[in-house]
C-alpha cells in the first residue's frame, strides 16, 4: 500500500527535523514500528467491519506540508464562535498560526505541543502524561504518536475555573494537492479545575485532506471538562479522531460530538475511569447526506466502583450516507454500583441510507445498572400528519420533526453562543427556515 510505505519511509526524514535524543523520541520510534507491523486497519478487523479507509488512503498525500499559508482573519471568522471571548489555538496546514491565536501562559498553559515537547520547563508534565492513556496497540494512534510534533497543549493547574472557553481550529488551505495532518494534543486539568474546549477541523479547499488526530485528556480529582467537537468539514476532508480520556476521583467529563460533514469521519472515543465516583458523558448528533460516513466507536472502561457513564447518540441519515455506532462498555468485577446507560436513536430519511448500530457490553460485576437501547426508524407518520394539519407544509414538518429529534441532545451544551451556532448548522443541514428563534 502506497501511503503506508510513504509514511514509514518519511520517518527517517522526520527524524532530521527533531530532537532525537529526547525521551519522547523513544516513544515515537516504538510507535512507527507498531504502525509498520499493523498498517492501516481494514474491514477484516471487527472494529472496522463497517468502515473502509480505502477511499481515503488511496490519495497521494503530502505527509509534511512545507509551505505555510497566511490566513486573513476576516476570511475565516465565520468558523469561530460569534460574540464570545475565548482563548484560541489555531493551526494552518499543520503549523501554529500566532496571528489567529490567543494563547495564554498566565497562571496556566494554553499553548502548543511543539513548545511543550522542546522546552525543559514542560518536561515533567510531558513525562507524566504524554502517551500515557493513548492505546499503543492501535495502529492509527501509533501512526500519530510516531509523527507527534505539533498540536494543542493545555495544562490547567489546581483550583482554576476557566472563564473563557478554548477554541481550537485546524485549517487546511489547499497549499498541497493532497495533505495529511496529524495533530497531537494533550489536555491536563488538575484538581478542582474546570475548562470548556471547542475543537473543529476546517478545510478551505476541495483538495483531499486526511487528518489523523490523537488527543489525550487527563481529568484529575474533581476536575470538570466539557469538550465539544464540531465536525462540519467539506466533503473532500476526512477525519480520524482518536480521543483518550483518563479520569480521577469525582471528576466529570462530557464530550459532545456534532458530526455534520466530511467525507469519512471516525471517532474513537475512549474513557478510562481510574478511581471512584466518576461521571463520564458522551453525547452525539450526526446529520449526514450524499455518500458521507460517520462512525462512532465509543469505549467506557468502568474499572472502579460507584461510577456512572451516559451515552446518547442521535443520527439522521439521508441520501447514500452511512452511520456506524459501536458502543462498548466494560464493567470490571471490582466496579460494583456502576450505572452505565447507552442510547442510540436513528432516523433514516432515504431508502439508500444505512446505519449499523451495535451495543457491546462486557459486564463482570453483579451489582450494576446497565442499559442500552437502539432505535432505527423513519419519521412518525402520525406526528407528520399532526403538523401538516396545522398548516405546516410537508417539507418543513419533516424538518421540524427531525430538528426536534436532535434537539434534546443539545440541551446539555453549556455555551449559549455555541448552542446557537450548532442549531443554525442543523437548520441549514435540514434545508429550511424553522420559522422561530432558535
Amino acid at each position: 500500500m502506497q501511503l503506508t510505505e510513504k509514511l514509514i519511509s518519511s520517518f527517517l526524514a522526520f527524524e532530521l527535523d527533531i530532537d532525537i535524543n529526547s525521551p519522547v523520541h523513544t516513544i515515537r520510534a516504538k510507535a512507527i514500528k507498531k504502525f509498520e507491523e499493523l498498517g492501516f486497519p481494514n474491514k477484516k478487523l471487527e472494529n472496522w467491519k463497517y468502515t473502509s479507509l480505502n477511499r481515503v488512503i488511496k490519495e497521494d498525500y503530502t505527509v509534511f506540508s512545507k509551505k505555510k499559508n497566511v490566513l486573513d482573519f476576516e476570511k475565516v471568522k465565520d468558523y469561530f464562535i460569534d460574540n464570545i471571548e475565548s482563548h484560541k489555538i489555531v493551526f494552518v496546514d499543520g503549523f501554529f498560526d500566532p496571528f489567529l491565536s490567543q494563547t495564554s501562559h498566565d497562571g496556566m498553559d494554553i499553548c502548543i505541543m511543539s513548545a511543550a515537547l522542546n522546552k525543559s520547563k514542560y518536561s515533567e508534565t510531558i513525562k507524566k502524561y504524554f502517551n500515557k492513556s493513548a492505546n499503543s496497540e492501535d495502529s492509527l494512534t501509533s501512526l500519530n504518536t510516531a509523527f507527534s510534533k505539533e498540536g494543542v497543549y493545555i495544562h490547567i493547574p489546581k483550583n482554576i475555573i476557566l472563564e473563557k472557553p478554548i477554541e481550537v481550529i485546524h485549517f487546511a488551505t489547499g497549499n498541497e494537492a493532497a495533505l495529511m495532518l496529524q495533530p497531537r494534543n494533550l489536555v491536563v486539568v488538575e484538581e478542582n479545575s474546570e475548562v470548556e474546549i471547542i475543537e473543529s477541523h476546517q478545510s478551505l479547499t476541495v483538495n483531499p485532506i486526511f487528518t489523523n488526530s490523537v488527543t489525550e485528556i487527563f481529568a484529575e480529582k474533581n476536575a470538570k471538562i466539557n469538550y465539544y467537537k464540531i465536525q462540519n468539514d467539506v466533503i473532500t476532508a476526512s477525519l480520524i479522531d482518536n480521543t483518550y480520556i483518563s479520569q480521577k476521583r469525582d471528576s466529570n467529563v462530557k464530550v459532545h460530538t456534532f458530526s455534520f460533514g466530511g467525507k469519512l469521519t471516525r471517532n474513537n472515543l475512549n474513557f478510562y475511569q481510574n478511581a471512584q465516583s466518576i461521571n463520564s458523558t458522551m453525547n452525539g448528533v450526526t446529520i449526514i447526506d450524499f455518500d458521507q460516513l460517520v462512525d462512532h466507536h465509543t469505549l467506557v472502561h468502568h474499572a472502579n466502583p460507584n461510577c456512572e457513564s451516559h451515552q446518547d447518540y442521535k443520527g439522521i441519515f439521508s441520501g447514500k450516507s452511512t452511520g456506524v455506532f459501536n458502543g462498548k462498555i466494560i464493567v470490571d468485577k471490582i466496579a460494583q454500583k456502576t450505572n452505565a446507560f447507552q442510547q442510540n436513536n436513528n432516523i433514516l430519511l432515504d431508502n439508500n441510507s444505512t446505519i449499523n448500530s451495535k451495543p457491546q457490553l462486557e459486564i463482570f460485576a453483579d451489582d450494576v445498572k446497565c442499559s442500552h437501547g437502539c432505535t432505527i426508524g423513519q419519521l412518525d407518520q402520525d406526528a407528520l400528519f399532526y403538523l401538516r394539519a396545522r398548516g405546516i407544509p410537508k417539507k418543513e414538518a419533516k424538518a421540524l420533526l427531525t430538528y426536534a429529534f436532535a434537539n434534546n441532545v443539545l440541551e446539555s451544551v453549556n455555551i449559549p453562543e455555541l448552542k446557537y451556532k450548532v442549531k443554525k448548522i442543523i437548520a441549514k443541514k435540514l434545508g429550511v427556515n424553522l420559522g422561530f428563534d432558535l
Partner: protein
C-alpha cells in the same frame, strides 16, 4: 361552508364510511354522535386530509371547492382545523414554537406577511388567558407528559390562535374532568361566531350541555342514520344507541 356528498372512505382496504351526506353552513354547530367504531373519527380525519384514509367515492366541498385532492396543510390554509382525539407528543419543540411555526406557515400560504414577534406574543397571552393556560405550560415540549386535560386544552388553544372557519372537535371531551370540560367549552363558545362553523364529534351527550348544537347526526356503520335537533342527543342519552339501528 362544508358539503359532504356520498362520501365513501376505506382504511387498508376496509370500508369505514359508506356514503356520508352532510351540509354545514357558516354560523352552525353540528354534533356527530354514534357508538364506537361507527366511523366518527374516520370522518374527521378524511375531512382534514389524513392520507391513511382513502376516499373511494364522493366529494368534500369546502367553501365551494372540492378539496379531495388537497394535502392536509392546504386544507389547513383554507381554514379547516381538526382538534385531535389523541394529540401527538413531540419532544424537542415547545408549544410556543409550534404555534408560531403553524401561524406563520398559514399566513405565508395565504400570501400574507408573517406575524411580528410582538403581535404573536400578545395574541398568545390573550388566548392562553381565555383557556386559563399557565405561561409555563407554553414553554414545555409539545404535549410531552401533558395530562389528558392539558392536551385537549392545548388543542383548543391552537384553535383559538389559528381562528379557522371550520373546526372539527374529535372527542374533545374524553379525558376531561368537569372543570376542564367547562373551561374548554367556554373557550369554544367564545370563539364561535356567525362566520365560522363547528363540528363536535362525541360519544356522550355531556359536552353538548355546554356546547349546544344546532343539529345532531347519528352515525352508524359509516352512515348517518338519523339527524335532528339538540333534543336527539338527550334521547340518545336516555335510550342508548340500540334503538336507532
Amino acid at each position: 361552508m362544508l358539503t359532504i356528498d356520498n362520501l365513501h372512505v376505506s382504511v387498508d382496504g376496509k370500508a369505514i364510511l359508506n356514503g356520508i351526506n352532510l351540509d354545514v353552513r357558516a354560523g352552525e354547530i353540528h354534533a356527530i354522535m354514534g357508538p364506537n367504531g361507527s366511523g366518527k373519527s374516520t370522518l374527521a380525519s378524511a375531512v382534514a386530509g389524513n392520507e391513511t384514509y382513502e376516499v373511494i367515492k364522493g366529494d368534500i366541498l369546502f367553501k365551494g371547492e372540492n378539496i379531495i385532492e388537497l394535502a392536509p396543510e392546504e386544507r389547513a390554509h383554507k381554514g379547516i382545523f381538526l382538534s385531535f382525539q389523541y394529540p401527538i407528543e413531540i419532544p424537542g419543540i415547545t408549544v410556543t414554537n409550534f404555534i408560531k411555526t403553524s401561524i406563520n406557515s398559514n399566513l405565508k400560504a395565504r400570501g400574507e406577511n408573517e406575524m411580528s414577534a410582538r403581535d404573536m406574543l400578545k395574541k398568545i397571552r390573550e388566548k392562553a388567558a381565555l383557556l386559563e393556560i399557565d405561561s409555563k405550560f407554553l414553554s414545555r415540549s409539545l404535549n410531552e407528559g401533558f395530562s389528558g386535560g392539558e392536551k385537549k386544552r392545548n388543542e383548543i388553544f391552537q384553535m383559538a390562535m389559528l381562528e379557522p372557519s371550520l373546526s372539527i372537535l374529535d372527542e374533545t371531551d374524553s379525558g376531561l374532568d368537569i372543570d376542564a370540560l367547562k373551561i374548554v367549552a367556554n373557550g369554544v363558545n367564545k370563539l364561535k361566531n356567525k362566520n365560522n362553523a363547528i363540528i363536535v364529534i362525541t360519544h356522550y351527550q355531556r359536552l353538548l350541555d355546554y356546547i349546544v348544537p344546532d343539529y345532531v347526526h347519528v352515525l352508524h356503520d359509516g352512515k348517518i342514520v338519523k339527524s335532528g335537533s339538540k333534543d336527539l342527543a338527550h334521547e340518545l342519552e336516555e335510550k342508548g344507541y340500540d334503538w336507532i339501528k
